[in-house]
């Protein structure tokens, strides 16, 4: 009797242990413990973050370690991402408006669009955008005739839609690419806006790509570059 009871409880305990082991493996328990022992907190944060993309926390951690900030530099990100200044922010330090951390930045950006519902839509508008400088259209093949186009640039905010500008031009025969210059100031528009380009007449078998050229607000010539990695900068105002 004792043996049967012992075997039954051994079997139950074994199943319970196995069950817990499965949970431990499923939640990467051993891997996580190893990670905590091997890497210190900021290293773990750096490993699970992008370096110079989206929130660019890797770059911020690199700067914090290298420059040991005596004040809180300003931080601006040119992508729609959470602000990463929490990594270095200290209430007991003053904000230094002369020092700027600028993430994912290019002064002029060439942005891709997606063709949705007969329009070319720019999904993510850079937060620092100042102007739409132009539109680049490329065709799939050279035509042996002129191709006149009417182009509308629209602003979309969920269900609201506004036409911002209309341009008429013509693709000359045997031309593959055309750049239409604009100088459309959108600096005062909502950051949640999307922009779209509608083309008429629309021949999707003919149009290869539509790109929007934007100019962003910050001029790097106004700053001294203290550090730079890819498109992330640590700047000091001149």
């Amino acid at each position: 009797m004792k043996n049967i009871y012992f075997l039954k409880s051994l079997k139950t305990n074994f199943i319970i242990l196995l069950f817990f082991f499965v949970i431990l493996i499923n939640f990467d328990f051993f891997k996580n413990v190893f990670s905590i022992i091997k890497y210190e907190k900021n290293e773990r944060l750096k490993k699970t973050s992008y370096f110079c993309e989206k929130d660019s926390q890797g770059f911020i951690i690199y700067l914090k370690k290298k420059y040991n900030f005596q004040s809180n530099p300003e931080l601006v990100n040119n992508t729609i991402s959470p602000l990463s200044d929490w990594i270095y922010f200290d209430f007991k330090k003053t904000t230094n408006k002369k020092k700027l951390i600028l993430l994912n930045y290019e002064e002029i950006q060439d942005l891709d669009t997606q063709f949705i519902n007969n329009e070319f839509i720019l999904n993510a508008t850079p937060p620092l955008v100042k102007k739409i400088k132009g539109v680049k259209i490329s065709l799939k093949k050279k035509l042996d005739y002129d191709y006149p186009i009417k182009l509308n640039i629209n602003e979309i905010n969920f269900k609201d839609r506004n036409k911002l500008i209309t341009r008429k031009f013509s693709f000359k025969k045997m031309t593959l690419n055309k750049e239409i210059n604009l100088d459309l100031d959108i600096s005062d528009k909502s950051k949640l806006n999307q922009y779209s380009i509608s083309i008429s007449p629309l021949d999707i078998d003919l149009i290869n790509d539509v790109n929007i050229l934007v100019e962003n607000k910050i001029s790097l010539n106004d700053y001294k570059i203290i550090d730079k990695k890819q498109n992330c900068y640590f700047l000091e105002k001149i």
């Binding site: 939640f27 210190e40 602000l83």
Partner: protein, 435 residues
């Protein structure tokens, strides 16, 4: 070598942290008082939860006095010593820890995941971390006005800062580990309502695993509200089923509501709904002493919140709901009603399928109603009204309405989804009652 030692200290701290919390839950003075007056009718678990909420309410009051966070820690330690020094027992402590063994095991599994991935959510970085940092660095209540959304309640970030300060290595995520502890303790408390002893622990493991998501512990306060709503659900339910009608259940109901209202702005809705339903049901049952008692405490809870807001000049306007140029007439346009209703329903259903607890809860509720299993009407009404509040909370938003629904509805639903665990437990109790 020093580097290795520091990281080993971190792992050891994670191991010790919940043990210390469990020990701090004991209040021998209170236990003796309750045992002398109520005998064995007061459960061991209820004594611990009562002490937790007495402590949280004390910490809330201290947090409003603009004292250094170190002083809060000293006061908590003094409270612990005063309530335990006469009757301290190592054997009792071992017994407490043993009782929470499953909770501890699950805590360790989740806590190392939080520690290994210490990143914060969007709102965690933008709002809540800096509020916690404000208290951690003893900058005072008024300094919160330098941060966006000054009107956001402070208590969640205060307890984040408190446990951040208690960590020997001053690691911020220890504050979030306290959120994890609350989460597990709340699920443990509601699973305690399972009658069948064999499936009690199993149900705790099941619910804590399926409801867990690392993103909930990345700084947002919604998981804190989720935990407190589960505690509230337990005592709300006990008030109805307890034949002795113990004052302890009412006391916990009041203490929990007094904390919830200081976590997130929309918690006004939960506090108001829970009190109104309870007061109405007591009124209908002609228990007028309870009606007066509860009405008084509802009044005190709200008055306390309003007074503190006035002292610290915190706006009571819901900034998301009433931002921009607000047009009250638009609320009654039929076109708006139809558009917004269907938009909210669509995203409500998306969120429902992303929340397994709520989905199981609705499924259990359907079976309970179909099989005509006894279900307390007030709890049912509470749950339905919470779901309906989703529509009203988002309907009244005018500025960036769609954006708020798309990005906010998941988190709002998470807050009250814990109530649905009660229906799953009622169903389990019915299925396993004779086994």
């Amino acid at each position: 070598m020093l580097f290795l030692r520091k990281n080993m200290i971190e792992i050891i701290n994670i191991f010790i942290f919940p043990l210390v919390l469990i020990i701090f839950l004991q209040n021998n003075l209170l236990s003796r008082f309750l045992n002398n007056n109520y005998g064995k009718k007061i459960l061991f678990l209820d004594q611990k939860i009562l002490n937790l909420f007495i402590l949280l309410n004390l910490i809330l009051i201290i947090s409003l006095l603009n004292l250094k966070i170190e002083i809060t820690i000293y006061l908590v330690v003094v409270y612990f010593l005063l309530t335990n020094f006469l009757f301290f027992s190592f054997k009792k402590n071992f017994f407490f820890i043993y009782n929470f063994l499953f909770l501890l095991i699950i805590f360790y599994i989740f806590s190392v995941q939080i520690a290994a991935y210490p990143d914060l959510s969007w709102d965690g970085k933008f709002h809540w971390y800096k509020r916690a940092l404000n208290f951690f660095q003893d900058m005072g209540f008024e300094n919160l006005s330098s941060l966006p959304k000054y009107e956001y309640p402070h208590f969640g970030s205060y307890i984040w800062a408190l446990f951040w300060s208690t960590s020997p290595l001053k690691l911020e995520y220890f504050g979030r580990l306290f959120y994890l502890f609350l989460y597990l303790l709340s699920i443990y408390s509601i699973c305690d309502l399972v009658i069948n002893q064999k499936i009690k622990n199993l149900s705790f493991i099941f619910f804590s695993l399926i409801a867990f998501n690392l993103n909930h512990f990345t700084g947002n306060q919604d998981i804190v509200v989720f935990s407190f709503i589960i505690f509230l659900t337990r005592y709300f339910y006990l008030i109805y089923i307890d034949k002795d009608d113990k004052i302890l259940n009412y006391l916990l109901f009041i203490l929990i509501n007094n904390i919830i209202i200081w976590i997130k702005y929309e918690c006004f809705v939960y506090v108001f709904l829970s009190y109104i339903i309870l007061i109405t049901s007591k009124f209908l049952n002609k228990k007028f002493d309870k009606v007066y008692f509860l009405t008084l405490f509802l009044f005190i809870t709200i008055l306390f919140k309003i007074s503190i807001s006035k002292i610290y000049q915190i706006s009571l306007d819901a900034s998301f709901q009433f931002s921009g140029e607000y047009n009250f007439k638009e609320l009654f346009y039929l076109e708006n009603i139809i558009y917004k209703f269907f938009f909210i329903i669509k995203y409500y259903l998306f969120s429902l399928f992303k929340n397994p607890i709520l989905l199981l809860g609705f499924f259990s509720l359907a079976i309970i109603l179909f099989k005509r299993i006894s279900l307390l009407t007030p709890m049912f009404i509470f749950f339905i009204l919470l779901n309906l509040s989703t529509f009203s909370i988002f309907y009244i938003i005018q500025s960036d309405f769609e954006w708020h629904v798309v990005y906010g509805i998941d988190r709002y639903i998470l807050q009250y989804s814990g109530v649905s665990i009660l229906f799953i437990i009622i169903l389990l109790n019915n299925l396993f009652r004779n086994k």
